[in-house]
């Protein structure tokens, strides 16, 4: 059948790509309240990313880097633009992305070792995740060529597909493009000679190695974002929001979506969010599913907190949740440090500490 005819049929019958279904959160993804019950280590307005090199734990919030391994957060350095991604490497090296448009590698004294502004012919536009790959290379995730990192929702609602993933050998200034045309690249990790990278709008994590690029995790119930290595050989994956049938429906209604983007304040779009409940104008969190005065924990979320632990073979082992009536939503980064898991909840601006079982 011709693709166009098939698309029309699917639209009419609600099949295939127009089925408007979302994956189930059960089994290893069964909701719990671990994130809501986790200890709050720090409150940092504008919190975005978090990273550890084993010795130090560093978080970024706005233009500032904070050290978190003491009792209270200590300001490490303030930049001239918002930090949109960080990575810690060997020998005290720090990589930061500023305003999504340039990447700096700094030595342990803070001096600039290398700088990246372009990937191939295009300038960097929305760098949202970094990870060291061996000592002399940095993996870079550039979310979109059209929108800044803070405008991720615009990229989703315009069905952006201009994300890129690259390996930058900052020692030799060579750049290798690993993936392009991504529906919002957001998260990179080097693991066992391969590169793992998240593709948010396709709800999957890809694995790129010498044999090519294959999906490692697909059909996730949320929008995957940054990745972090786990001590047992697997990795942690954050999902900054969860999928809902309502948003999936809006994404298939082109005319409606175009008008919404053109005419409505982005804060009130029918779209996923990092936090909710700020205004009565925004779509209802949990779609107002209440029973006996209690918001049902399985109600469809506008914002949600979700961290997934994945084994090296791609099997989901367990998950950490902040439910629709919780507070620690919009999780964008995690890092293992000193036997605990530190979670950056961008929606609440809090760094959480989860003691692992």
């Amino acid at each position: 059948m011709l693709p166009t005819l098939r698309e029309w049929r699917d639209q009419l019958l609600g099949r295939g790509g127009a089925a408007i279904t979302v994956p189930v959160m059960d089994g290893a993804l069964k909701p719990n309240r671990i994130l809501d019950e986790a200890a709050v280590v720090a409150e940092l307005p504008g919190l975005d990313d978090i990273a550890s090199d084993g010795a130090h734990l560093v978080a970024s919030a706005g233009p500032t880097l904070w050290r978190l391994d003491g009792d209270t957060p200590v300001e490490l350095r303030r930049f001239d633009a918002a930090v949109t991604a960080i990575a810690l490497g060997a020998q005290g090296r720090v990589a930061v992305a500023l305003a999504g448009q340039r990447v700096l590698v700094l030595d342990d004294g803070g001096a600039e070792l290398a700088r990246l502004d372009t990937l191939g012919a295009e300038r960097l536009h929305a760098v949202n995740a970094l990870a060291f790959d061996r000592e002399d290379a940095l993996l870079v995730s550039d979310g979109s060529l059209r929108f800044a990192p803070a405008q991720w929702c615009h990229d989703l609602m315009t069905r952006g597909h201009s994300g890129r993933v690259a390996r930058w050998r900052f020692g030799s200034a060579g750049v290798e493009l690993l993936a392009q045309g991504q529906r919002h690249a957001f998260g990179v990790l080097a693991q066992d000679g391969a590169v793992l990278h998240s593709e948010s709008w396709r709800h999957r994590v890809m694995r790129t190695d010498a044999r090519g690029t294959q999906p490692l995790l697909a059909e996730l119930p949320g929008y995957p974002s940054r990745l972090a290595a786990a001590a047992d050989g697997g990795f942690w994956l954050t999902c900054f929001a969860c999928r809902t049938q309502l948003v999936e429906f809006v994404l298939r209604e082109d005319a409606y979506r175009r008008r919404m983007v053109a005419e409505i304040d982005p804060r009130y779009w029918i779209a996923p969010a990092l936090s909710s409940g700020q205004s009565f104008l925004e779509p209802l969190q949990g779609a107002g599913v209440k029973s006996m005065g209690v918001l049902k924990p399985w109600a469809p979320p506008r914002s949600y907190g979700l961290v997934i632990k994945v084994a090296a073979d791609g099997r989901i082992e367990r998950s950490l949740h902040s439910l629709v009536d919780g507070h620690h939503h919009g999780v964008t980064a995690v890092a293992e440090h000193a036997g605990a898991l530190y979670v950056a909840s961008k929606g609440s601006g809090r760094v959480l500490k989860v003691v692992q079982p």
């Binding site: 295939g16 979302v22 189930v24």
Partner: protein, 498 residues
């Protein structure tokens, strides 16, 4: 001083020379609630059928209020004040509820509207939520049972015999039923009920009689019994620790997600239902009648169809599937073992071997399949032995088997297809305790062998004893999931109701 209403002396009933009950002495006292328990084939149904005039004794004596009687028909029994509510409902499926209630009692100038009003008032007085204008054939098992009970009460019987009255009732409906029985007792009505749920006997009965292999084992007051004593009397061995006795201390870890149901819709019964089933685990599905559990899995197995427009998705090993007929699901490794074995489970006039072979043909058969009698016998004998289907002869018709053996046959008929996803719908309904143990062992063996097993059950102890994870369904969708370790009866029931 207690007064004996019905008495059996040395009662024997033989079918083709084989005794179903053998020299049984039984006394029923006025106003008591008497529970009759025993394994399938113990002779409970035969004993009560003698009292209800359905069958006559081969030898021995039946006395009603001290007078020897020979009740040749149910009508004669009813005239003596004895009515029976059967396990398989004896309602006319093409008639309405009200018509069934008043069947045989119609006035000469029968006014349908008057019958409906009268039936409505009567059903309301019993607190039964059944529409008197509904056609019985369209009702579920629970509601049919309610109509059957209502009819017996309407006939003003002084002795009412219930054969497995609660097998298809939800916990809430059971409570109504128990209240009804107690209210009957207050009106000096004597009640006999046959039940496989021993908790019900211990909860409701004044006295309990245990039968085994057609013989009377013991009759005693309820307070002299506990669960272990009943079970031991029933089966002649101690099963109390193997049957629902032990709480799960560990769960099997999940394997591959073999089956995923996403936002499934089917009429007004299944409403946006989503769930996953994993290999190597038993996934229990609990819910009240009307929770859409059976319908969801019947859609999965291609036995009924989901909504045509925007009906959701079923994914098998990550690939969307939509079966138009059940055979295609069988081909892909999905087996659905029905809750209604008599209607959907087997060909009752065929032998065990023929039935099992039919299951195999459903998997491998094509347009030009070759049917081999020798192969049928070989397959039937092997699977019959594997699942311990007990038949007195190899050519015995399935209808002649006991309920437990029929259920094991239905299971064998599906397992012969070597499925990867096995859906058991009420696997031990109307099955004796000995067979329950064997069926449970088989379910656990399948999960240990890496199969994805689903157990739909309305009996909470069963769900908790078998499942590694428990999904609770309410009003057409799964609303919460419990791990077997964290689950409590109260928590599950709360989720199923609220």
């Amino acid at each position: 001083m207690t007064e004996t209403v019905v008495e059996l002396r040395r009662a024997t009933k033989k079918y083709a020379g084989v005794p179903a009950i053998d020299g049984v002495d039984f006394m029923l006292e006025r106003g008591e609630i008497h529970a009759l328990v025993g394994e399938n084939g113990a002779g409970k149904s035969t004993l009560t059928k003698v009292m209800a005039g359905v069958v006559t004794l081969t030898s021995g004596q039946l006395l009603v209020e001290g007078e020897p009687v020979m009740l040749a028909t149910p009508l004669e029994a009813r005239q003596k004040g004895i009515a029976m509510v059967f396990q398989e409902t004896s309602l006319v499926p093409t008639m309405t509820v009200a018509q069934n209630l008043y069947l045989g009692q119609e006035a000469f100038f029968n006014r349908l509207r008057g019958v409906y009003i009268s039936a409505q008032q009567f059903l309301q007085s019993l607190n039964f939520d059944v529409d008197p204008t509904a056609t019985v054939g369209m009702l579920g098992a629970a509601k049919k049972q309610m109509v059957e009970i209502a009819r017996a009460v309407l006939h003003k019987a002084r002795v009412i015999i219930f054969d497995e009255p609660t097998a298809s009732l939800t916990p809430e409906e059971k409570k109504y039923f128990f209240d009804l029985v107690l209210s009957l007792q207050k009106r000096d009505v004597t009640v006999i009920f046959i039940s496989h749920a021993l908790e019900e006997a211990l909860l409701l009965a004044d006295r309990i009689t245990v039968l085994r292999d057609g013989k009377h084992v013991v009759t005693d007051l309820k307070r002299n019994f506990d669960r272990a004593r009943i079970v031991k009397a029933m089966v002649g061995r101690d099963l109390s620790q193997t049957l629902y006795g032990q709480r799960k201390t560990h769960v099997r870890s999940p394997g591959e997600c073999l089956l995923s149901v996403r936002n499934l819709r089917m009429s007004s019964v299944v409403k946006n239902n989503s769930l996953s089933v994993f290999a190597g685990q038993v996934t229990g599905v609990f819910g009240l009648v009307g929770a859409g559990r059976t319908e969801t899995f019947k859609v999965v197995a291609g036995l009924i169809k989901r909504d045509f427009f925007h009906g959701g998705e079923v994914l098998l090993r990550g690939k969307p599937v939509r079966y138009r007929v059940g055979r295609h699901a069988v081909r892909d490794g999905i087996a659905y073992i029905t809750e209604d074995r008599k209607l959907e489970g087997f060909f009752e006039t065929m032998s065990v071997a023929q039935n099992i072979y039919m299951g195999l043909l459903g998997k491998v058969g094509g347009a030009f399949r070759m049917v081999s009698r020798a192969r049928a016998k070989e397959v039937g004998a092997r699977w019959g032995e594997l699942l311990k289907v007990r038949a007195t002869s190899k050519d015995m018709k399935v209808i002649e088997l006991s309920g437990g053996n029929q259920q094991k046959l239905v299971i064998a008929k599906s397992l012969v297809q070597d499925p990867d996803v096995i859906i058991f719908d009420e696997p031990t309904r109307g099955v004796d305790v000995g067979a329950i143990t064997e069926i449970h062992a088989e379910i656990n063996r399948l999960a240990d062998a890496g199969k994805a097993v689903v157990v739909i059950s309305s009996y909470l102890p069963e769900v908790m004893a078998l499942s590694d994870r428990i999904l609770v369904a309410k009003q057409g969708k799964v609303v919460v999931e419990f791990s077997a370790i964290e689950a409590t009866q109260e928590g599950i029931m709360y989720a199923a109701i609220h």
